[in-house]
Amino acid sequence: MKRTSIKITPKKLNLQECYNFVEDDSCGGISAFIGTVRNNTQEKEVKQLDFSTYKPMAIKEMQKIADLALEKFPIHKIAIHHAEGMLQIAEIPVIITVSSKHRKAAFKACEFAIDTLKETVPIWKKEYFSDGEVWVNAHP
């Protein structure tokens, strides 16, 4: 049985797909983290975000996070899906779902997965403002 679902896609992410992957009769709960594109950063209006990836390595790093989450927490399944390309305000760049017998493990694994993704997975976003664009995190 496959216990991890990893995906990077230029298509719209599908929450139902992530839910269905982790859903199981043996589990008492599913936790989900859904990242959304916010319309401002440091009080400046953001128009859109462009996500670029080092895709083969990003997939490997996402797989490592999922495998590590299965090792560290008593969870049943985990899905980590990330979008690439241009996203508009309120669109969804990332979905993580985790199922477990008891809720705490699902909450913890979900937080661990998104925190680690933001540190290690080679994906970059560029913020577009009305007066230009900026690579996020690139400068102090």
Partner: protein, 80 residues
Amino acid sequence: MKIQTLFFGITSDLVATNNLELSVSENSSVNDFKILLKEKYPQLKNINSYAIAVNETYAEDNLVLKNNDVVAVIPPVSGG
């Protein structure tokens, strides 16, 4: 020996390409490669920091490179 070099995020803007071949001497380490990069592309010092991945895995400075390795310059990531 030849090293396939990939640039991502802000580094591809700074060096104005995302992909090129660099020549390094035999038994060069990742650290030697970083020194070469700094000499060739002084504009890279304008960013915070960057990591190096060799063949799609994060690499330490003391890793020794082989001919035809794929080395990626990874600026601070911002996924999610």
